[in-house]
């Protein structure tokens, strides 16, 4: 009987002693932690995709709580989540900018573009591009071997008829495809209904005509047509500013190459 009592008493008093010591020590070594960091981390998607530029969701949460990152930096988080984060941070969610999505700036599908050679190597755009800039005669267009597809973590991009196509519903705008594309033919644009010149070719118009049936020749008709000053000509290529575009469609109608398409 005694040994039970002793063991009980000894272990009990040891536990109590250590407990008191630790309670005392935790008072001395108290660290002020920001509760908001954990709340924000819980609201972020937790995929740790790195699309925001921070090493993982918790790092972004810390930056948001610090005020060094905007509340809507995470492009993956849904609107409700951003609203909740805004509430935690006591800022107005209404001021946040539009979400971005990727768009492939090429409409040179198999039937529209001529080829230099038949490629039979590794099914990867980066490998293909090293062989004389790719099999298509246009060196700026989509190579169509799906390096972006294999890198997309959200299954939002697919190759259709030799050109990559982004599923705007699935795309979260993390920008991984933009970084990995050897042709630099993918861009991030604001997620709204707009027109876009789906061409990435800066060659002179006469040259473009020889190999692509739809590529932008930089004639500037769209620029003259546009009433909203949303189109600029950069090195023989028309570029539409999606922020200014009102989606009126006047440019698409006038375009002799039919390279201006509806996005969104």
């Amino acid at each position: 009987m005694n040994s039970i009592l002793y063991s009980f008493a000894v272990l009990g008093s040891l536990g109590l002693l250590f407990g008191l010591l630790l309670a005392f020590a935790s008072g001395i070594f108290k660290v002020e932690t920001d509760e908001r960091v954990e709340e924000i981390t819980a609201l972020l998607p937790g995929a740790n995709c790195g699309g925001c530029g921070y090493p993982g969701c918790s790092a972004l949460a810390a930056a948001i709580a610090d005020g060094t990152a905007a509340i809507d930096t995470c492009s993956v988080a849904k609107k409700e989540q951003i609203d909740k984060i805004a509430k935690i941070m006591n800022v107005d969610a209404g001021t946040q900018s539009l979400k971005k999505v990727a768009v492939v700036l090429c409409s040179g599908t198999c039937d529209k573009i001529s080829r230099k050679y038949e490629y039979d190597g590794i099914r990867d755009c980066r490998a293909l591009t090293r062989l004389g800039g790719g099999e298509k005669d246009c060196i700026s267009g989509c190579a169509g071997y799906g390096t972006c597809v294999s890198h997309c973590r959200f299954d939002a991009i697919a190759i259709k008829d030799g050109v990559a196509e982004v599923d705007r519903e699935k795309c979260v705008g993390c920008g991984v495809c933009v970084a990995v594309c050897p042709k630099k033919v993918i861009a991030l644009v604001p997620k709204k209904e707009a027109k876009a010149v789906l061409c990435n070719n800066h060659d002179k118009g006469a040259a473009v005509r020889t190999y692509c049936a739809t590529g932008c020749i930089g004639c500037g008709i769209c620029k003259k047509t546009c009433e909203h000053d949303a189109i600029a000509l950069e090195n023989n290529l028309a570029v539409i500013d999606a922020e200014k575009c009102t989606n009126c469609g006047a440019c698409a109608e006038k375009c002799p190459r039919k390279v201006i398409h509806q996005i969104g």
């Binding site: 040994s3 000894v10 272990l11 536990g15």
Partner: protein, 194 residues
């Protein structure tokens, strides 16, 4: 006395190195040895815990467990001491060095279950050391642990930079390295000092 201390020191650091010869405390040895800096931090934390733990466990053993004839509670009582100490280290580290705290991560609270710490306390009572010797034994065992983990992390940092055949990359080559370092420490087992 000086000679006894030397024997304990050499025995704990080299001849019976806790990690490489006795194979105790392998978990942090593999877990936090990716960079020398965190390995050194881990070594310091373990050194503190082991030294103080062997001091306190000696007192617990001699003045609580033995007089009350409840030596069979040795393991649980020692674990209690160790876990309280680890908790203390965690509190102090979080306050003084948040970077090291996050680098050590889960391995910091896992010192609680680091069998090297419990091993040193139990071995000290088995060897019948007195208070000073027990404490020194704990301290030198921890130095041995630190030596092993820092050496190992140095080699691992070097291996990270070199070309390793694909099947061995990462953990497999780390295990092979650990085995080779342990083999090197076998060389010390030839010493017999008394």
């Amino acid at each position: 006395m000086l000679k006894d201390i030397l024997v304990i020191a050499l025995g704990a650091v080299l001849i019976n190195n806790f990690v490489l010869v006795r194979f105790l405390g392998i978990c942090p040895f593999l877990g936090v040895s990716k960079s020398t800096k965190t390995a050194l931090g881990m070594g310091m934390a373990v050194t503190f815990v082991m030294t103080v733990a062997s001091f306190i466990t000696y007192l617990v053993q001699q003045y609580l467990l033995v007089p009350f004839h409840i030596e069979y509670l040795q393991t649980i009582a020692f674990i209690l001491v160790i876990s309280a100490l680890v908790q203390l280290v965690e509190l102090v580290l979080q306050k003084t060095s948040p970077a090291l705290y996050s680098a050590l991560g889960i391995y910091l609270p896992l010192i609680t279950t680091n069998c090297a710490v419990l091993g040193v306390a139990i071995l000290a009572t088995q060897e019948g050391y007195n208070l000073l010797y027990s404490t020194l034994f704990g301290f030198f065992a921890a130095i041995g642990f630190t030596l092993a983990i820092v050496l190992f992390s140095g080699v691992r940092e070097f291996i990270d930079e070199s070309k390793v055949p694909a099947p061995f990359r990462g953990f497999p080559i780390a295990l092979i390295t650990a085995g080779l370092i342990a083999l090197a420490f076998m060389g010390f087992s030839g010493f017999s000092i008394s």
